[in-house]
């Protein structure tokens, strides 16, 4: 209908006539849009950082353990309640806890906890108490000494690499690592008598993806070819390397003996965080890592102690954990209502469990499903709260800055209408309709604000880039948010242009032509 290109050209000419004022209005809008883009980028960066930290904290880790210590625990508890003469498991589980009898008496537990503990249905065959994963052993467990069946785990230790492969196909699963663990002695050639007693982990190449706190000062982790080929290669925890070779020695390429078999060292594992210093006796750095396939081959084992899984997002962890449980029950042909021969736990609940008193820890273990949900709900709840605060802040900054930009645009246009009253009168005299005049001023406002928007996006990109670079803030600019910022600027320009445009359109041509 209207010759839009011509009107745009007119608007541009009009703006270029007042370069100074136009520049200032564009600058005002640019500051607004720049603030918007920067704060959106910082907001998104902060959200990513929170999610990353949750992932780093292991909130997305699921561990499937062979055996069902919950069921095992029930047996123990029942034994006590019924006054059996079996050795008191507390002596072994918490040797120095001083909890004996006093705290273990059912009367000292709250009703709710008791219910949780007693919640497991049915009596199970007796399981060796040493295989309770809650206990930390400084000696080989019964299963390790005696083998799966002899240890009384029987059909319980049924996790296989096929189970792991099946889990890998569940949607939402990120990494899957099969593991066997053992307490073993390692030594180096010529020092057969100076054995180091440590943790042996048979594992897969993806483990460092899960252990996000690891760094490799020397070498690398096991690679998929070595795992596939059952090779005798080994990654050393910092503590083991320090004891075998001395501190600050590069162990890569050296030979370490395990079960009297030579293993070539491919890498040294250290801790990324000062908060987690490698220590003697810890499970991660006082440890050696070899391919799970090699362990199965050398020891003629087919079973796994556990499978560690991570999910792509923290929010999926509960759902994926449930799906893993259902899948394994089906694969292990466990009838509905019967206790499983494995345990699915999320890291979140382990973290919670760590900070609790022993009684509560058992309660947590006994009520794992609802505890897991509670934990995830708590975590995602605080994430959401953080997001909402951030979004509120962003909305505030964006509103104020865009308001300022919009007012700048309106100010320039009102000035322009006054300055160009005669022009408007002339245009009306030669046939411009009121709508033609209004459109022209609105176009000017939009041109101004889009120009401001483009400059602002550029400024925002630069600002968040340098904040990220020089201040290590995390910022995340998406092209979508850049496009949205320009669109928002255009809309703001339109809204703030309407009032001056109406004023121009309502001028009386005769009065306007007389205007000086």
């Amino acid at each position: 209908m209207i010759p839009l290109r011509q009107f745009l050209q007119l608007a541009l000419q009009a703006l270029l006539r007042n370069r100074m004022q136009t520049g200032l209005a564009v600058l005002g809008m640019a500051v607004g849009v720049g603030a918007l883009v920067t704060s959106v980028a910082l907001g998104r960066g902060a959200q990513d950082a929170i999610a990353d930290q949750l992932r780093a904290a292991g909130a997305n880790v699921i561990v499937v353990t062979a055996g069902n210590y919950m069921a095992a625990h029930k047996v123990i508890k029942d034994d006590i309640v019924e006054g059996r003469a079996d050795p008191n498991p507390l002596d072994l589980l918490f040797p120095n806890s001083g909890l004996r009898k006093v705290s273990w008496h059912p009367a000292s537990l709250s009703g709710g906890l008791l219910q949780a503990v007693g919640g497991a249905q049915g009596r199970l065959q007796k399981v060796h108490f040493e295989d309770d994963p809650f206990a930390k052993h400084d000696h080989p467990t019964a299963a390790q000494r005696l083998g799966d069946a002899m240890a009384g785990l029987g059909s319980a230790a049924t996790l296989t690499r096929e189970d792991a492969a099946a889990i890998r196909k569940i949607p939402g699963v990120q990494y899957v690592v099969s593991g066997v663990h053992n307490n073993s002695r390692v030594f180096i050639a010529g020092h057969r008598d100076e054995k180091w007693f440590t943790r042996m982990h048979g594992t897969e190449a993806d483990l460092p993806e899960i252990r996000t706190g690891w760094v490799f000062p020397h070498g690398r982790f096991l690679n998929p070819n070595e795992v596939e080929g059952k090779e005798q290669v080994m990654a050393l925890g910092q503590i083991v390397s320090d004891h075998l070779f001395g501190p600050k020695v590069n162990p890569v390429g050296k030979i370490v003996f395990l079960w009297n078999q030579p293993f070539k060292v491919v890498g040294l594992i250290g801790s990324r965080s000062w908060a987690q210093q490698p220590a003697v006796g810890d499970d991660e750095f006082d440890a050696v890592y070899v391919p799970v396939t090699t362990v199965n081959h050398l020891l003629d084992l087919s079973k796994l102690n556990n499978i560690t899984i991570t999910t792509k997002s923290v929010g999926q962890t509960t759902q994926v954990a449930k799906e893993i449980g259902d899948l394994l029950r089906k694969r292990h042909k466990i009838a509905d209502g019967m206790p499983a021969d494995f345990t699915v736990k999320t890291q979140a609940e382990q973290v919670i469990g760590k900070g609790l008193s022993p009684e509560l820890a058992y309660a947590v273990g006994g009520n794992a499903k609802s505890m897991d949900q509670l934990t995830i709900a708590k975590l995602s709840g605080s994430l959401e709260r953080a997001n909402r605060t951030m979004l509120g802040l962003l909305a505030g900054v964006a509103t104020v800055s865009l308001l300022v930009g919009g007012i700048g645009v309106m100010n320039l246009l009102l000035l322009s209408v006054t300055q160009r009253t005669r022009e408007v009168g002339l245009r009306m005299a030669v046939g411009a309709r009121r709508s033609d005049v209004a459109v022209q001023f609105v176009l000017e406002a939009m041109l101004l604000s889009v120009a401001g928007g483009l400059v602002g996006v550029l400024a925002g990109v630069l600002a968040s880039g340098s904040l990220e670079r020089f201040f290590k803030w995390s910022a995340d600019i998406s092209s979508m948010s850049a496009v949205m910022a320009v669109v928002v600027a255009a809309v703001i320009g339109m809204v703030f242009g309407v009032y001056p445009a109406r004023r121009a359109a309502q001028l009386d041509p005769i009065e306007a032509l007389r205007h000086e």
Binding site: M1, I2, P3, R5, Q6, F7, L10, Q13, R17, R422, E423, G425, L426, R427, M428, A429, V430, G431, A432, R433, R434, S435, D436, P509, I510, L513
Partner: protein
């Protein structure tokens, strides 16, 4: 059929309790091809009449037929369309857009033509109008680079570009010296003679009024005299004015 037919046209302005009667019942017919000059003292209602004739304003009472159509009660947008197509304005102060070239100034009315006209077409018509004013060389000059006479010729080109049947000029020579004024009057006379365009011109100078074919005198919002006139031939007049000056310059 007259181009303009006014029947008992009245216009009054309310100023607080007072009512100013700017036009107190004007009736007149203007035929195609007439060159009407309207004179009268300041405040007599000339401009008010001109605004109504130019469809910039509406009468309080009475009827205005333009080309046989009653335009007394049309909407603002309908009046805008009539101004665009049928009327060309020439103002005392030229009213050219500053920092805009001559040809772009001439194009302005074409921007508001409906249906919309392609840019090439607009440019072609604007250049033709400038050429008819002898300004094709100045097409890309800004008003500030042109003399007063040249500026008024650009304004006349703008008034002509949509080929109106009526040209309204309010004191078009008010800002010009005598010689340039006569040049402008010559242009208007030629437009009437060669293109049969109807011209209504307002002036308070009797000399200028004498270039028209009909002189109307207005006083206190009423027409007091309306006489045919034997127009002063502007062409000869230019020569008369020019001759002594050329002689003085030794030409």
């Amino acid at each position: 059929m007259p181009v303009i037919s006014l029947q008992n046209l009245k216009k009054s302005y309310k100023l607080g309790d007072n009512t100013v009667h700017a036009l107190r019942g004007a009736s007149l017919d203007i035929e195609a091809g007439e060159f009407v000059t309207i004179t009268g003292p300041s405040g007599s209602g000339k401009s008010t009449l001109m605004h109504i004739l130019g469809c910039l304003d509406r009468p309080t009472d009475g009827k205005y037929l333009l080309n046989d159509r009653d335009v007394s009660n049309l909407s603002r947008d309908e009046l805008a369309a009539i101004r665009n197509k049928q009327i060309g304005f020439v103002f005392q102060g030229f009213n050219l857009l500053p920092r805009t070239t001559a040809v772009e100034n001439v194009e302005v009315p074409l921007l508001y033509s409906r249906p919309a006209m392609p840019a090439i077409e607009r440019r072609k018509l604007a250049l033709a109008a400038l050429k008819s004013m002898g300004l094709e060389e100045r097409a890309h000059h800004h008003p500030s680079q042109l003399s007063g006479g040249q500026q008024q010729r650009v304004a006349i080109a703008r008034a002509l570009v949509n080929q109106p049947s009526l040209i309204l000029a309010d004191e078009p020579t008010g800002n010009l010296d005598t010689k340039t004024s006569i040049e402008v009057m010559r242009i208007l006379q030629e437009l009437r003679e060669r293109r049969a365009i109807t011209i209504v011109l307002i002036t308070h100078e009797p000399d200028i009024a004498a270039y028209g074919t009909r002189i109307i005198s207005v006083r206190d919002g009423a027409i007091v005299s309306d006489k045919p006139n034997d127009p002063t031939p502007a062409l000869e007049h230019v020569a008369e004015v020019e001759a002594p000056r050329m002689a003085a310059n030794g030409i």
